[in-house]
């Protein structure tokens, strides 16, 4: 069911344009970052139409963007980026952030080398699996009272660090120090609180994971030195989000925004893109609630990292100093943020939506931790569980993407197609033969998440590096994976 067949043109080696003339109602062009080979896959479903649909939204600036891991989502495509001028009727759309608000990844280094971990890998994977609750609707042992929950939503990762889940230094290396300012707990319904209860420190399900990795290639020695990493060193990556609380916030505000379409006379081709002006009452309320959910997600990953550090301490009988599990960075990839950008030599205030896309600040940006000022913001790109993941940094060139880049491999096969491709096979055994230990709580998760269900992350990273919107630092290979 390809759509917009043939209605895109090549801009340069890595960029493709969907002219605004291809669908009546588009306010700007669509621009997709991809290689020629990837474009064939991308054009085979409704992803490009979703890029065009985003271009309908009021106040959109320059173009509707898609990163090379673009794939068919709901409303906006996964891998979509859109910036809206808040002083020019620009909107905010819950469906363009997604249900898993604040979903993201964090990466920690360790002092361990591959040889230190290999003899204990099975133990380590077991302990991580047992100590970090995962699976459908998983709840954990971290109990937060209703009153404290409101504090958690405002203070984010700092609140859980204050309760002993981590160290102050972790906050320095978390996007927005683990809490967006201006979160309003009153904008979060009782039902959302209810759905998020006791889910702090839980991984969730689907593509969320914890991965023990080893660095197997360095591309940028200088940046690697700043991160304190080298070839052969073990890293830990965590991918999770805002759990039930975020899903419920998106759900409720999506319904509310449908009513806004008539109220503000907004025309969208898909109701999942329902939106309201950022400066309207509804827009402000959603933004306040969305920030709460994002803060919850940062707190959640902070708790998971804390539990994972303890698991390492248990298995290696070593203390925090010996293990050196310092956070390299934590960054969200489902979020909307109010940011200042220079557009045509004028500073404008934009509401930048990134849905399956990562913020990537350039060297010298004021929001960077001092230590990263010279190299730019770390960008963490997980691959599938059988192939590599990457660490990159932001660049000045990414001003053309509102300082945004890709977020992962991007799916290639639907879950059903992946399950049928894996029928009669043991994915765990196949991965084990490649030296990768995998544990999962979901019955079908391993087949759904099989490596072949994903695009090769190498190609995705090749495009953003080639186009210059971020720069490769190193590559990691999975050793042990815990899936939700």
């Amino acid at each position: 069911m390809p759509v917009l067949q043939g209605q895109w043109e090549r801009l340069d080696q890595f960029r493709w344009k969907i002219p605004k003339s291809s669908k009546a109602g588009m306010r700007v062009d669509g621009v997709i970052y991809a290689s020629e080979e990837m474009m064939k896959d991308i054009a085979s479903d409704k992803a490009l139409e979703q890029v065009a649909n985003v271009a309908f939204l009021p106040g959109i600036v320059k173009y509707s963007l898609a990163m090379p891991d673009i794939h068919w989502g709901y409303g906006a495509p996964i891998g979509g980026v859109g910036a809206f001028d808040i002083d020019d009727g620009g909107v905010i759309a819950p469906g363009f952030v997604g249900y898993d608000i604040g979903c993201g990844v964090r990466l920690t280094r360790t002092n361990l080398h591959e040889d230190d971990v290999l003899p204990k890998l099975a133990d380590l994977v077991n302990v991580l699996y047992n100590d970090i609750p995962a699976g459908v609707g998983s709840t954990g042992d971290i109990e937060v009272s209703a009153k404290d929950e409101r504090k958690l939503l405002v203070e984010g990762a700092a609140w859980v660090v204050g309760r002993g889940y981590g160290v102050r230094e972790d906050l320095e290396y978390t996007e927005d120090r683990g809490a967006m300012k201006g979160a309003s707990p009153d904008a979060v319904s009782d039902r959302a609180y209810q759905r998020g209860r006791n889910q702090s420190g839980t991984l969730g399900s689907g593509n969320h994971f914890i991965e023990v990795q080893v660095i197997d290639e360095i591309y940028d020695e200088a940046a690697a030195d700043v991160f304190g990493i080298e070839k052969g060193l073990v890293t830990l990556m965590i991918h999770s989000g805002s759990r039930g609380l975020g899903y419920q916030v998106c759900d409720e505000y999506s319904k509310e925004m449908i009513r806004c379409l008539a109220k503000y006379n907004i025309n969208v081709p898909d109701r999942q893109l329902a939106c309201a002006p950022v400066n309207s009452g509804e827009g402000k309320a959603y933004l306040g609630a969305m920030k709460c959910a994002a803060n919850y997600a940062w707190a959640n990953r902070q708790c998971i990292m804390h539990l994972a550090r303890h698991a390492f301490e248990k298995v290696f009988h070593a203390g925090p100093k010996d293990l050196g599990m310092d956070l390299i960075y934590d960054v969200a990839h489902n979020i909307a943020k109010i940011e200042k950008h220079e557009i045509d030599k004028k500073e404008r205030t934009l509401c930048v939506h990134r849905k399956g896309a990562t913020r990537a600040l350039p060297p010298g940006h004021p929001d960077l931790p001092a230590k990263y000022s010279k190299i730019g913001q770390p960008v963490i790109i997980p691959g599938d569980m059988g192939r590599n993941s990457y660490l990159l940094v932001g660049t000045k060139k990414a001003e053309e993407t509102f300082y945004s880049t890709c977020h992962g491999a991007g799916r290639r096969l639907s879950r059903t197609a992946a399950i049928s491709a894996c029928r009669g096979r043991s994915i765990a055994a196949e991965l084990k033969s490649k030296g990768i230990l995998v544990m999962s709580s979901g019955r079908e998760t391993l087949a759904e998440e099989a490596p072949e269900a994903y695009k090769d992350v190498k190609q995705v990273v090749g495009v953003v590096d080639g186009a210059g919107i971020s720069k490769k630092v190193c590559r990691m290979r999975p050793m042990g994976v815990i899936k939700g």
Binding site: Y74, R191, Y247, S414
Partner: protein, 138 residues
Amino acid sequence: MKRYEQFPHTADIGVRVYGKDPKELFENAAFAMFDIIADLENLSGDTVEDFELEAPDREALLVAWLDELLYNFYTKQLIFYKFQIEELTGTRLKARATGRPVGANRNRLKTEIKAATYSGLKIKASDGACEVEIIFDV
């Protein structure tokens, strides 16, 4: 008649649901969702929940119905497997769902559905047959 089938969707789960009338369509949509969430085979139980919902139109009502069931699944830890739409207009429904506590059935759980989305949602109705495609965020 087939109650539903999955269609390929790259990132999420898409289902095409069938029903002889809108009531049955709503019942089968709920069944499809829980059939994805959990293994319903031979599941029995008699925990009953009643629902009364309103929405601006029938599509929005379908999403509201599914999301209400999801909310009850997560917060009350109930796996629903039987659904009865008692009243249905274009904007309002009354329904009853029967289920069983997750409890010892945790091993039946398969997939975490975050929400039913509005994306491309359109109920098609003709004589004696209704159909709708729903995308679930997973």
